[in-house]
């Protein structure tokens, strides 16, 4: 067996199913998410609100809480399950150390009553068993790494004394503190204004290259994906509908939902009378539709689509698609326009 095969992907999510058992019924937030991430790779997980993106990241980090529960599937880190009954100690060791999370909202994700310094050093002291002074030196280095000026002084400051962009940088520094191999970034820029967004994305990109990080970037913003990701996984109604290299997927989307997403992204170089949207709304996940979940909104759906859900099928070029009518243009006129622009 070759070394690469023995090592396998860094992270595998296999058929992950998460359900929320609420008083109003069971919500199937994640209905069998499968994806993998290699070392040094940036994977974009793209979908609308409520599509199961964040649930996936929460499951990876062990943050699913009552009334939510992982009912099936597995999360495998370096070949070992994080969910197995005997894996609890392994999972605790891995989370926060080898896998770190950058949250959506830097305004509320830092504890308001503790200094930035304490919030970074506590990770270093807990996982790496550093002493007070060593932890504080390392924390200053980390703030410097993420481009925060005067890092020594920042350590003594409280979150409310920093700007939004600065707080997100501090959160990234915190996530990087134990030199993680995987950074899970859940909508890291949505709460920030546009110029700061660009800076944070640039920072993530450069960190990825300098530190050889893998990044799982969860977003609804295709622009962010195009800027940063090697590969993309598109998620709809709790299932992955399409994966592939970012360039391929943008050039030639295979799933009608991906086509719809690309089509509805506003473009500065094309004049349109109005914003284009995918008709309809995402399905209610307490009663997911039979067959392909997208058939209710898909312009090219057939009887087969309503009868049976397609599984994720490998295609040429390392792509996978879950669609009975993969690569069929769902909005033919628009597709022609896209190709013409080239």
């Amino acid at each position: 067996m070759s070394a690469a095969a023995a090592e396998g992907p860094l992270l595998q999510v296999k058929g992950l199913q998460v359900r929320y058992f609420t008083e109003r019924g069971t919500i199937e937030a994640s209905r069998g998410v499968t994806l993998h991430l290699d070392r040094g790779e940036t994977l974009g997980l793209v979908g609308e609100s409520g599509s199961g993106k964040s649930v996936t990241s929460q499951a990876i980090l062990g943050l699913i809480r009552e009334p939510g529960r992982i009912v099936a599937g597995d999360i495998v880190w370096k070949g070992r399950s994080l969910l197995a009954a005997d894996g609890a100690a392994y999972a605790r060791r891995v989370r926060g150390k080898e896998i770190a999370l950058v949250f959506q909202d830097p305004m509320t994700s830092l504890n308001p009553v503790f200094t930035i310094g304490l919030q970074i050093t506590e990770v270093l002291r807990h996982h790496l068993k550093l002493g007070r002074r060593a932890a504080s030196d390392r924390a200053a280095e980390l703030l410097d790494l993420v481009g925060i000026s005067a890092p020594r002084q920042r350590l003594a400051q409280y979150p409310h004394e920093l700007s939004g962009g600065m707080r997100q940088r501090a959160l990234i520094a915190m996530a990087l503190s134990c030199e993680p191999e995987l950074l899970v970034a859940d909508e890291p820029t949505t709460a920030l204004d546009v110029t700061i967004q660009a800076q944070i994305l640039e920072l993530l990109g450069s960190l990825q290259q300098r530190l050889g990080l893998s990044i799982l970037l969860i977003t609804h913003d295709l622009g962010v994906v195009a800027a940063l990701c090697h590969r993309v996984a598109v998620i709809y109604a709790g299932r992955i509908v399409e994966t592939g290299r970012a360039a391929d997927l943008f050039a030639r989307p295979a799933h009608p939902y991906t086509m719809g997403l690309l089509r509805s992204t506003p473009r500065i170089d094309v004049v349109r009378p109005r914003l284009v949207a995918i008709d309809g709304t995402p399905p209610d996940l307490s009663h997911p539709p039979a067959g392909c979940a997208f058939h209710t909104r898909c312009p090219i759906a057939t009887d087969a689509c309503m009868a049976e859900a397609p599984s994720l099928v490998p295609q040429a070029g390392g792509r996978t698609v879950a669609c009975w009518r993969a690569f069929t243009p769902a909005w033919p006129g628009e597709a022609a326009n896209r190709r013409a622009r080239g």
């Binding site: 980090l61 062990g62 943050l63 009552e66 605790r92 060791r93 891995v94 989370r95 926060g96 150390k97 770190a100 999370l101 949250f103 959506q104 909202d105 509320t108 994700s109 830092l110 504890n111 308001p112 009553v113 503790f114 506590e122 990770v123 807990h126 996982h127 409280y158 409310h160 959160l171 915190m174």
Partner: protein, 307 residues
């Protein structure tokens, strides 16, 4: 925090203490008549007038008032009508007993309420939480005089484990402190529970969990520090209510020789001077507690600006 803040708060405090003192001065003289209480029932009118003159109670109210404040400015609170010695001496003798009772009672309440509330908040709606809520409601609904008598009947009379009343050994302190603490524990546990539930749902708690920190640090440090201010606000209020209210009931039930008990005795004997002095000292403590609470808030939450 600035020197300006402290000066302003000191100014407010003086206004409050003077206001309370004036109200007590006027009300006691409107509703009470020490002469009637202190002289035998068959005393003649001349004797009554002579005694009123001796106490200075025959003069017009504004004149009495001016005299009272002139003395107050020199920290002369006057002589107790009942015990015939400086009222402030009586108050200072009784003060340690009340402080002991109130501080031990409140410490007990906080020590019980915070773990109860925090553990309940970890799993809202589950067994422990429901039990905590029910017991808290029971605790805060019990009238203190009744609770005190119940404890005396059980622990002192039936089982003979603890003394019924008085002060001396640590055993004497247990029942009164418990009587003072239990209703406060109910209220504090409820607020600790609800503010912990709020805090545990905050994103920073998710951050702390995702950092791989142990649960006891996430709950006991990150969330609890944020939940502390509402709990301490109520604890400050409980402390004030205990000093200026509950202690009167509890000390009377247990014959605890503190300020509350002496206040009741002063009222029964129409000892206006002693009552004024008790109220004055309690008012100063209330103002001091409020100021201390503001400083504690600031120490706990750096976002709070004391202006």
């Amino acid at each position: 925090m600035s020197a300006g803040f402290l000066l302003r708060r000191l100014g407010h405090g003086i206004v409050v203490v003077l206001g309370v003192t004036i109200v007590v001065f006027i009300v006691t003289r409107m509703v009470g008549d020490p002469v009637r209480v202190m002289l035998p029932i068959d005393a003649s009118d001349e004797q009554r007038q002579a005694f009123a003159h001796h106490l200075g109670l025959d003069r017009p109210l504004p004149a009495q008032f001016a005299d009272f404040f002139a003395k107050l400015a020199r920290f002369d609170f006057g002589e107790s009508l009942w015990q015939r010695r400086p009222a402030i001496d009586i108050v200072l003798e009784r003060l340690p007993a009340t402080l002991e009772l109130v501080l031990v009672g409140m410490a007990l309440a906080l020590l019980l309420a915070i773990p109860l509330g925090v553990i309940a908040a970890l799993r809202p709606g589950r067994g422990w939480d429901r039990a905590t809520v029910s017991l808290s409601l029971l605790g805060l609904s019990l009238p203190q005089f009744w609770l005190g008598l119940l404890l005396i009947i059980l622990f002192a009379v039936e089982w003979g484990l603890l003394p019924t009343s008085g002060r001396g050994t640590p055993g004497h302190l247990i029942l009164p402190a418990l009587t003072l603490a239990l209703p406060a524990t109910g209220r504090l546990a409820m607020i600790a529970r609800s503010s912990m539930i709020d805090e545990l749902n905050q994103p920073y708690v998710q951050t702390a969990i995702a950092k791989g920190l142990p649960l006891r640090r996430v709950v006991g440090l990150h969330a609890l520090r944020n939940a502390a201010n509402p709990v301490l606000t109520l604890a400050g209020w409980e402390l004030i209510r205990s000093l200026a209210g509950y202690a009167v009931v509890v000390e009377t039930v247990f014959a605890w020789p503190g300020l509350g008990y002496v206040a009741i005795q002063a009222i029964q004997r129409q000892d206006l001077v002693l009552l004024q002095t008790v109220v004055f000292v309690v008012a100063i403590m209330v103002v001091a507690i409020n100021l201390a609470m503001d400083l504690v808030y600031k120490a706990i939450d750096p976002r709070i600006q004391l202006e």
